[in-house]
Amino acid sequence: MKALALLRSFASSQIHRSRFEDDMDQELRSHIQDRTSDLVRSGIPRAEAERRARLDFGGYQKFKEQCRESVGAHFIESLAQDVRYALRMLRKYPGFTTVAILTLALGIGANTAMFSVVNTSLLRPLPFPNSSQLVDVWARSAVFDFPHLGLSLPDIADIRDQNNVFSEIAPYRFSGFTLTGHGAPRRLDGVEVPISLFGVLGMRPRYGRTFTAAEMQPGQDREIILSSDLWREQFGGDPRAVGITIILDGKPYTIVGVMPPQQHLDFVTDVDYWIPFAPTKEQLADRSSHGIPVIARLKPGRTIQQAQAELDAIAARLQKAYPDADKGWSFRLASLENDVVSDSRTPLLILLAAVGFVLLIACANVGNLFLSRGWSRRRELGIRSALGATRSRIVRQLLVEGLIVALVGGLFGLLIAAWGVQGLGSLLPPDTPRIKDLSIDTTVLWFTFAASILAGLLFSLVPATLASKQNVNSAVKEGGAQTGAGAQHVFLRQSLVVGEVALALLLVIGATLALRSFAKLLAVNIGFRSDHLLTMYLDFPSGKFTKTDQALSYIHEIVAAVRSAPGVQDASASGYSPLSGIKGETTIHTDAMPPNSPPAMSQGDTAFPDYFKTLGVSLVAGRDFAETDNTNSPEVYIVNQAFAKAFFAGANPVGRRLSNQYGKNPKWGQIVGEIADTRDDAAEAAPAPELFAPVDQIKDSGLTGISLVVRTNADPLSTLSAVEDRIWSVDKAQPVENVASMDQLLSKSHSAPRFQTFLLGVFGGLGLLLAIVGIYGVISYSVAQRTHEIGIRMALGANPTQVLRLVLAQGLNLALIGSAIGILASFALTRLMASLLFGVSTTDPLTFVSVTAVLIAVAVAACYIPARRAMRVDPVSALRCE
């Protein structure tokens, strides 16, 4: 349809154009006729009168052309002419055209692929109505140093009553269930939500309905809304699932709705299910349990700063009114957009900048090609301007050629990007926001178009102006003799190469820093043996155990069963999975702290006997937990070296006293062992103080699950089914979650730095390659231009070695100047990537020196080939070719 309309409008413009031409012709001709008749009337013979009239009128064709220009009709026509001519020129030099287009396609393609990641993850607005008004409300504590603490329900109610900045406040609570009765038991993650949350986020069910007010009461809250994924996987995408009752944690829930697919944001919108948020009366009154996260919508026109100021005022009032519960607590606002993308922004922007530099280098290369071609075409251009082409016309002609090359390059770049985006998708760290939605959309297409145009202007504007500036006479007269390129040309070409070298150096230094940092990361002693280690999490549905004793004996049974599985060397359990990214925090007192001092913070976990042996963590002092450390024996703890260093000044902690209980009269226990530090949280973070208590001494009944570690003889995943069989021989309904080998987890925890290092490496390599090609091109071109000069030198007695040195020195000069600029730029820019580096300074001298040396060496090597050519110049033929 569109094409047809386009065709029609083109046709009509053609018709109008010929009518315009006819009219103009008639008007001008009748002028001459009128003149002729006037002259005839004054007594001049007709033939003479006609001649005089035409003479008086002046250049008929010239004025017609000027008329066309006056109404602008001319522009389109001559542009079409330029395009036709440009296509002919580009076809005439297929080698030149191919190299230019391929170089640009690489540069633009890499940029498009990278931009589509940035666009998907960072730029696309969140899929919520007026998403910039949405904010997360977190609590901040003077004691617990956590960025994402929740609020208490009474505090939330007070904020709701006292604020003037939010149009909506929606608290929510994370929830987890075990689904049974539908195939293998399955662990589900969901959220308890108030009705308003769906409104705030603009979520509407695909089938069924959301919750009613009556369902927001404790006891009435047995309704569930399924995510699209869960519905598809468990109910085969059958709309009749609505109304069915399913069993979660042993209790019946009725499916009232199914949500459409949600974007992958790691947020309350992308979970397995939603159930009503129905706090009990006690929870509603409990001001001291700070644990409820809140999403709020700002009133139109309100800023985050205004809202934060108001929350600060409310927090101050609450601290005064409820010192027991709210002392030291305040509120922190963060825009939802920032919270969702915060971790990915810096790395992605750095990568985008790096790939932008690659495009600049590519432009410099193509610009150089155009410069040298402009020089060799100066005769053609000279003739054109002698025939009346204006300067602007010639500049436009060359610009059109450049833009065509750029647009074709952009088109191929788009193909490269379409292919590259898929590769990036599998390479990106899995926690990159919205990575599953990675695609090339219209924004990306516009970006590609703009990048192509910009690149085209960049590399062709200067060569075009320069080429048009030359003197017609000399150009035509010189007859293309190779008498040394114009000084401006040489200077420009060399500046371009210097710039390329500088940018390439910057890129390679950045890539090398990332590589060294990644190597250091891999070399970090993680403190345990990750090979042949299988991990999994066993979730206990709420209500599975009424007493802690039951849970403990269940764990004993499971561990014993797993230990007896074939292929299993050792097995044990802990509260949190190593490398899961989840850690418990606990307040502590030690006997080294003065009495009545405020509690300190440490990571805290529980461990089963032989846990450290199974992981391969070495015991530095004391002993491991034993079966006899249970509820009937005194409390015991094992701490890591970082703990000993932090709280006992590095002295042997074994035998020291410790309490991890909060409250008025904490019970004290004894440290019985010290273990080596492990990096099972994040390898790049310094080891944090951590203490372990025996699983058997857990007192509260809120034991929600246990993490298993299994040391296997063969490949850990091949042993999985044997392990699962043993677990299910104890309890058929036990879900087994988060199964992974420790090596897999380790590799996953390295995915972000690996991705960054890989891409920076690719960009650095690409930049280096292009820069080398650039310097090679300039030197070999200059050798060709100087053949005559070299011939004279050799005729005057210069030997080949001197000629070789002459050429290499020219290349070395360019490389040196470029490197100097590149080093300065690197000093200025690498500090932006500080947050990406681990164990390497952003101005690491070793990296700077070695990369510069290698780059200069490679650059000089690239000049060697043309230099050899120069050496072989035959003085006689060089002088004759004049």
């Binding site: 009748s30 009128f57 000027q66 006056s70 109404v71």
Partner: protein, 113 residues
């Protein structure tokens, strides 16, 4: 025959506007009118009239329509638009100021300066 002056660049537009201000005219008529009002003292290349006319139409200072001329030929007539009339007044004023200034400068005697 009076001495003829080369036309100053940029003044052709003013002359055309002036010529047309007295009533709609076709191309050759405008030329005659200019010769008449300048009493034949200005020399222009006749064809140069047309690019100027096309330009003035595009600038909205003139409007053109096809009509039948006195000798029954299809002819393109030009007339002034209100923007054209405004521009003519302004240019006339500017021109007179310029001429007065230059004339007084040329009249000045060395001892007066």
């Amino acid at each position: 025959m009076p001495e003829r002056a080369q036309i100053l660049p940029g003044t052709l537009d003013l002359l055309i506007l002036k010529a047309v201000s007295l009533g709609p005219l076709y191309g050759y008529g405008i030329l005659l009118r200019i010769e008449q009002i300048s009493r034949g003292a200005l020399l222009i290349e006749q064809g140069a009239l047309y690019p100027a006319l096309f330009r003035l139409v595009r600038q909205g200072l003139l409007k053109a329509h096809w009509d039948t001329s006195e000798n029954n030929r299809r002819t393109k007539f030009y007339e002034l638009t209100s923007a054209g009339r405004k521009r003519l007044h302004q240019e006339e004023a500017d021109w007179n100021r310029l001429v007065a200034a230059i004339a007084s400068a040329l009249k000045a005697h060395p001892e007066e300066s």
